[in-house]
């Protein structure tokens, strides 16, 4: 564990701010790609670092701080997205359940590249697995452990995401 991490763990706010500046870009990128929305990503990034501060005591240094933080990020975003989805499922009359998992409005995601926009427009579950597997390099078993979905679900979502992405980019 680095000196900075140890000081932050002891409650040193300045040290924690340094950790924030060191990792904010990666956390924000992950939040942005998992949520598909820049405003939402900013909120989630704040939530991640507040949660990180609260849980820093439990960080034992068994893995790199970044690894621990990014797993925490996935957990925070996943939990938030599930909450949003449950709310939507309650407030929208669902004729076909899969349609609740709607794509984001690409005009609002704040991403400039075509590929980023195509990823952001994927349905939520497919996008999440694609980001974790294909961009972040997690294995299906890791994704299943972090998010609570089945390995088979993760594979199915990846299949769906890749197919949709190919279709979008081939148009």
């Amino acid at each position: 564990m680095s000196d900075l991490e140890r000081r932050a763990q002891a409650g040193d706010e300045a040290a924690f701010e340094s950790l924030y500046h060191e990792h904010a870009g990666r956390v924000f990128a992950l939040c942005l790609r998992l949520s598909g929305d820049r405003t939402r990503a900013a909120e989630l990034t704040q939530d991640v670092f507040v949660r990180c501060w609260e849980q820093l005591k439990s960080f034992r240094g068994e893995s790199a701080f970044g690894t621990w933080l990014y797993r925490l990020t996935v957990n925070v975003v996943w939990t938030a997205n599930r909450g949003d989805r449950r709310r939507e499922a309650r407030v929208l009359p669902v004729e076909r359940p899969e349609t609740v998992e709607r794509p984001r409005d690409t005009a609002t995601v704040g991403l400039s590249l075509d590929l980023e926009q195509a990823i952001a427009s994927l349905p939520e579950g497919a996008r999440e697995v694609f980001v974790l597997f294909d961009i972040e390099g997690y294995r299906h078993e890791d994704i299943a452990r972090m998010t609570g979905i089945a390995v088979g679900t993760s594979k199915a979502q990846l299949f769906r995401a890749r197919r949709l992405l190919r279709e979008k980019l081939e148009r």
Binding site: E13, A29, E88, V91, P93, R102, L115, R162, R166
Partner: protein
Amino acid sequence: MNEREREIDLPPELRAAVDGLPRTIEPPESLWPGIRDRIRLGKREGGRGKRSRWWIPLAAAAVLVVALAWWRLTPHSADAWEVRRVAGTPRVNDAALGAVGSLRVGEWLVTDDSSRALLAVGDIGEVDVKPGTRLRLVQARATDHRLALDRGAIFAHVDAPPRLFFVETPAGTAVDLGCAYALEVDSLGNGVLRVTGGYVEFDWSGRRSIVPLGAIAETRRGQGPGTPYVHDAPESLRQSLAAFDFSDGGDAAARTAVGAARAEDALSLWHLLQRVTPQLRPLVYDRLAQLVPPPESVTRSATLRLDAETLQRYWERIRRIAWRREILRDLRDLNPGTGLTK
């Protein structure tokens, strides 16, 4: 990698593009102050509190005993809702709100230009009270959760059966039908309602607008809700509806609105049908029926009589198409007249 994964793997050029995506994206510069404020707030509320936890089960048991006693001794419908400070210094009546407080029936919650608060709607939802807002808790019963929004802006989301949450404004009352929405009221008492989930009904003196996901309704003090329109409605339609609803535009404005409406604007025509003069009603109906054919059980004559059941059946078709259009946006190319995939 198994056969299935190989089959769906990305083409090499796409794989290269994915691998080349930046791993970091700079967040807005303003994130750290918000984080700092929240962790300082957490410190004041007890810090990270990880020192010793032996007392937690005892404390929990004590809290349970007190809560049970309170539950037995007080009416079950609490007369106060929890309110949390998000930014600045919101005030409850004249007192500055701490990190967490309560808003009792009859009390005002006021945010200035730099303050914001989160108000729990009993246990069925939450209201984000934006800066520059003044609202009062009117009723806090299990069957009637009611706020009065005097001015400012709120975002409400409620996870409960319809008609349990109401927001009174100078221009009428927003009735939750299971939804999420933003509601703004200016200093004159005029406002705008934007629905982001489910449906909201807005009532004033017998005038009613049903505003579904993706739609907007403007409101005016003394005139109630305007004709709702979808968020991407043509400007000409919006202007003619505003003229009809709020500026004595009369039949001329209604005719312009009818001419400007697309199939996607059936929501507006359905409302307009019930607001125009009987002489103009056939024109509105015929245009609506041309754009979105009614169900078989809906007849022209019954609709022109404003038969309630007939209107409701037509509405069911219109709202279902509108909902599919919104929920399948960018995913399916829908025929706006039928809601079916082209």
